[in-house]
Symmetry: C2
DNA sequence: ACCTGAACACCGTTCAAGT
DNA sequence: ACCTGAACACCGTTCAAGT
C-alpha cells in the first residue's frame, strides 16, 4: 500500500467528480456522501471542500461530467437530430441511473446543462422552427430531452411475491393486470421493451410538432376550459 | 401548554401522515425526518415507529394521502376523463410540490397508487382502447398522469443575478435566450404559463393516441434504426 | 496550496425498558 | 397498547491548525 502521507497524486476537481460518478454507478445517489467519497479517495472528508463547494456542487459537477459525454448528432434536420440526442442521452443514462434523481435534486442548471439545452433549442430554431413553438416543444419533451421520461414506478408493488398475493392484486386492479398479461403474451421475456416505449412516446411528440409547424402554430392565451376553477370546492 | 404526559390524544397513522403532509408542504421533502416530524407531534422520534414501518413507509403513506384526494372525473369519453385526471392531479400537486420528489423516491407502488393507475388504464380500456395501445399510451404519458411532466430546471442558473452576468449568459446561449425573450414579449409577466404548457404537451399526446386508435395501431418489434449500436465506441 | 482533527448539530433505527 | 431513553452508526459543514 502507498504511504498514508496525503495521496500519491494530489486531488483535483476532475478526479473527485470522476470517482463520485463511479461510486454513484455502483450504489446510486444514496451512496454519495462527502464522507464515503472521501474514504474512497483515501482522504479525510474535509479535504473535498477544497475542490467542491458543498454537496450540491458535487452533484451538479457529476451531472456535468455525464452531460459532457452526450454526443452531438451529425444527422441533418431537426427531427433526426433531436431524436438522436434524446436516444443517446437515454443510453448514457442507462449507465448512470442516478442521473434522474440528480437532475431532480439540482435546482438550477449549470453552464454545462444550459449549453446542452441551448444545443437542443438550436436544433429546432436553426431548422426554421419559431422560437415560440420551440419553447412549447421543449416543454412537451420534458425529461425526454435528458434521456428518459421518468416513469413513476418500475417494479411490482410490495407483497406481490407469492402467487396467491399476485392473483389477489390482479383481481383488485384488473386493467393494470390485463396490461401485464398482454405484455407477457406479446413478449416471451414478459418485460417491457423500455427503449421501444421511450421511442414511441418521443415519436408521437415529434410528429405532432412537425404537424404544428406546418400549420403555422402560434401560442394562444389559455382558453376558458383550461382555467382553474375560481373556488376549489362547490 | 398541555401536560407533557405523552399527548392529549394518542397518535394514529392518519394523524402522523397528515402532519407529515403539512410539514412537507412547508419545508419540502427535505424537511421530513423522523426526528423533526416527531417533534412537531410532541412525541419522541421512536414513537413514530408504532405507526409507520420506516421512512420509506412514511413517504409512501404521504403519497397515498394526497393521491386519495384526486377526484374521479364525471366526464364521458376517455379523452375528457384522462385529461381531467391529469389536470386535477396537477392542481393537487401544485399544493404539494414535494410529491414529485416523493414519487421519484418511492420505488414501488402502494395499493393506493396502483388503484389510481388502474383507474387511468380503465379510462382507456373501458372506452374501447386495446390493452396494447393503453399500455403504450400510459408510458408516453409518463409523469403527466401524476400531474406533472417533471421539468428539468425551474429557475435561472446561479450567477445570472446582475445584469452584466445575464447579458453574458445570453450571448453564450443564444437559443435559450431567444426563448426567454420571446416569452417575455408575449407575456407581460415574463413568465411561462406552466399550466398552459402542461396542457399543450398533454393534448399533443392525447390527439396522437386518438389517431393511432383510429388506424388500428398494434405494437411492433422495434425496427433496426432504433437498436442500440452493438459497440458503444468506434 | 493542500490536507487534517476536533467539534457541532444533525440523521434513521435497534433494543430494552417504562407506564 | 403506546411511548420513552440510551445507544449505535451514520450525515454535512465550520473552524483553527498543521505541513
Amino acid at each position: 500500500m502507498p504511504p498514508k502521507q496525503g495521496r500519491a497524486t494530489p486531488l483535483d476537481r476532475t478526479a473527485v467528480l470522476a470517482e463520485a460518478v463511479v461510486l454513484a454507478d455502483e450504489g446510486g445517489l444514496a451512496a454519495i456522501s462527502m464522507r464515503a467519497l472521501a474514504a474512497r479517495l483515501g482522504v479525510v472528508p474535509m479535504a473535498l471542500y477544497k475542490h467542491v463547494a458543498d454537496r450540491a456542487d458535487l452533484v451538479g459537477g457529476m451531472i456535468d461530467t455525464v452531460v459532457q459525454t452526450y454526443p452531438t448528432p451529425d444527422d441533418d434536420g431537426w427531427q433526426a437530430r433531436v431524436r438522436a440526442r434524446a436516444l443517446a442521452a437515454r443510453d448514457a443514462q442507462e449507465q448512470h441511473p442516478w442521473m434522474r434523481a440528480a437532475i431532480d435534486e439540482a435546482e438550477r442548471p449549470t453552464l454545462t446543462t444550459l449549453a446542452y439545452m441551448d444545443a437542443v433549442a438550436a436544433d429546432f430554431i436553426d431548422d426554421g422552427f419559431s422560437v415560440d413553438l420551440t419553447h412549447y416543444a421543449m416543454h412537451a419533451l420534458g425529461h425526454r430531452i435528458w434521456g428518459y421520461s421518468t416513469e413513476a414506478f418500475r417494479s411490482a408493488p410490495a407483497g406481490a411475491d407469492d402467487e396467491a398475493a399476485a392473483a389477489m392484486l390482479a383481481a383488485q386492479f384488473p386493467h393494470v393486470a390485463s396490461i401485464a398479461m398482454d405484455t407477457a403474451m406479446r413478449n416471451p421475456a414478459g418485460a417491457c421493451d423500455e427503449r421501444h416505449e421511450f421511442a414511441f412516446g418521443l415519436d408521437l411528440l415529434l410528429d405532432a410538432f412537425a404537424r404544428l409547424r406546418e400549420a403555422g402554430w402560434v401560442s394562444a392565451v389559455p382558453d376558458a376550459s383550461l382555467s382553474r376553477p375560481a373556488s376549489p370546492s362547490t
